[in-house]
């Protein structure tokens, strides 16, 4: 292993994607969004975005429609909990271990 020649003299990092690696692989279930129910998609307006607001990993976009970055979504399910119109369901990932 080589020392990172970063020139820092104290512990330092910048906000960025993926300091903990591709955390999407930690997930055992993923959020499935029903766009017929999801407010911004349904009304075609930049509204609600509670999922974007509460996502602890900032992997949900504030767009119409909202999008989840599954490379980093850990599948915690907070978005499904906070969605006021119950547009999000958590769906189990298929484990590659089962036959």
């Amino acid at each position: 292993m080589q020392t990172r020649g970063c020139g820092h003299i104290c512990g330092e990092s910048s906000p960025g994607i993926g300091e903990a690696g591709k955390t999407g692989e930690w997930r055992d279930s993923y959020p499935l969004i029903d766009l017929r129910k999801c407010t911004p998609a349904k009304q075609n307006k930049p509204a609600c975005f509670q999922c974007w607001l509460y996502c602890p990993d900032a992997v949900i976009s504030k767009t119409i429609p909202v999008q989840v970055n599954l490379e980093y979504c850990k599948g915690c399910g907070i978005c499904a909990e906070v969605c006021p119109v119950h547009a999000i369901t958590m769906v189990a990932e298929e484990t590659s271990c089962s036959s």
Partner: protein, 209 residues
């Protein structure tokens, strides 16, 4: 060094360990129970008469779903080595998706065992090295038996069936005893059933000598 002689339980040694220090590394994901598996095997080995056993998690913050590892060391003498396992005799993988990560088989001794929770044949795993491979579909066993805790299939005990079958490092009765000592009464039966079923279905691919 062949380990012989009466052990602390007063029974005959029934295990297959022929080294002064036997090291096992466990790879799983947070919540699968890799650490508990490491502890059960340490306990079982102790029950067989090994005076020196240690079981340790990978150090630091562990999170559900994130890759974790653990280690078990078994010896006739008290274990003095406190550093991380570098050259395991056995690597146990509780989640096949971890196999693509670097470091899972790293340092695995020549002639050692790679044991993977997988439905495929050892030959089809796509892993190559100078070691033996065993596979068993512990996930399916647990699904069939309903060994699911908080929505997560807990494969740590089931995979012990494959571990015992492949390595013979500890015996089934010792593992049973360890589980009875550690688990609440109502959980014992289902876990033992998972071990027995996985033991039967384990596929072995031994290194040609």
């Amino acid at each position: 060094m062949e380990i012989t002689g009466a052990n602390a339980m007063g029974t005959n040694p029934s295990t297959n360990i022929n080294k002064s220090l036997y090291e096992i590394r466990w790879h799983g994901r947070g919540g699968q129970g890799a650490i508990t598996a490491a502890k059960i095997v340490a306990q079982a080995a102790f029950l067989e008469g090994y005076r020196g056993v240690t079981a340790a998690p990978s150090f630091g913050a562990e999170r559900r779903g994130a890759p974790v590892s653990a280690s078990t060391r078994i010896s006739q003498e008290p274990v003095m080595v406190m550093s991380q396992v570098e050259n395991p005799d056995v690597v146990v993988v509780l989640d096949q998706t971890l196999l693509k990560r670097d470091g899972v088989t790293s340092g695995l001794s020549t002639g050692g065992w790679l044991i993977v929770n997988s439905g495929v044949d050892p030959k089809e795993l796509g892993v190559e090295g100078r070691f033996n491979i065993a596979t068993a579909d512990a996930t399916r066993v647990c699904q069939e038996l309903g060994l699911i805790v908080s929505g997560l299939i807990v494969v740590n005990t089931a995979i012990l069936g494959a571990f015992i079958r492949a390595t013979k490092a500890v015996s089934m009765p010792s593992v049973e005893k360890a589980i009875k000592g550690r688990f609440p009464k109502e959980a014992v039966e289902i876990n033992l059933a998972a071990i027995a079923r996985t033991y039967e279905m384990t596929k072995l691919e031994e290194l040609r000598k």
